[in-house]
Symmetry: C2
Subunit: 165 residues, 2 copies
DNA sequence: TTGACATGGTTGCAAATGCAACCATATAGC
DNA sequence: GCTATATGGTTGCATTTGCAACCATGTCAA
């Protein structure tokens, strides 16, 4: 009778409520959605645009490729977000001295201002989310998420190396 | 001098690496992306289609509205996913006896089969994700995420009550 | 019964996205 | 220097999406 049973591995009966990618997606949507109201209805910005702005605001001048690398957003998405931000006069470009393909991106004063406003609101939003979890749990959650994100780009990678959505 | 300082609340300087919606989005993308390969390249399905299939497979026959409620996916997305699944002969509809607006959705045998295959692969994928965290952390993570998801629909809700993405 | 409003579901249309192909410059090998 | 290949970034095109408007049925109340 072998090793009896009791170790019927759940190789059958997929349990959606336990599936982490699904839970992560739902939680991400749930927490992002309400904040979206802020940048969307107030400023007519896209999620990607807000994220690119936030990266530039937080980390300072850098190239589009840098943004891709640290935010894991796909490069065409970043490219278009930058174009839109530039149209709105929130971001400006200047050619890199060392690599004429690359362009250094900087927030304009207007961009800094917008980042400050949205950052302010984001902090408040984050505070509300964390309040529901308690400070310790929230901090642990953040650290686990960072772990998952870091492991991301492992394994295979297609031609040109795409990412995100 | 009031209560001195030391309690300079972080009302300034937004810290992107601490912003939970951002971390959740990245983690969700990171963990979903590789599994997407499976349903996308193998079966040509979208994420929404896979999710709707998974809900029907896991919870049995129900209406589109039920799927919306439990999965927090917006109703037009569900509607179109169902239409696609029906075209692929994975889902069938029958009119509800009690409400002629509603349609009860069921997986066809082919749909059950596909769900079994994908469920199988999903379990394997989930196992890999959890392996990086360890069983306890993974379980805690899942429970925290469920908490965030549950709190979701709170606060305001627009006309007709939309949700998700 | 008859409105008035809620609800299940679909559709039109504009916007956002993914992916592959592309341009221009860089870099490496010869 | 010259070709082959890699890299930063943009663009074309097909898909997916969001949102509002819509249709049909249901419900509640006068």
């Amino acid at each position: 009778m072998k090793f009896a049973e009791g170790r019927k591995i759940d190789t059958d009966g997929f349990d959606l409520e336990r599936f982490l990618p699904y839970l992560l997606n739902q939680a991400a949507e749930a927490t992002s959605r309400s904040f979206q109201e802020v940048y969307r209805t107030t400023y007519g910005m896209t999620r990607t645009q807000w994220r690119v702005l936030a990266n530039l605001g937080r980390f300072g001048a850098m190239t589009a490729r840098d943004i891709c690398r640290i935010s894991h957003i796909e490069k065409t998405k970043v490219s278009r977000a930058i174009a839109a931000l530039e149209r709105d006069n929130l971001v400006s470009r200047r050619e890199s001295k060392t690599d004429r393909r690359a362009e250094i991106l900087t927030l304009t004063p207007r961009g800094e201002e917008r980042f400050a406003e949205l950052g302010h609101r984001a902090i408040e939003h984050d505070r509300q989310v964390r309040a529901r979890l308690g400070p310790d749990v929230a901090e642990q959650l953040a650290s686990v998420l960072r772990m998952l994100i870091a492991d991301a780009g492992k394994s295979q990678s297609g031609p040109d190396d795409a990412q995100d959505q």
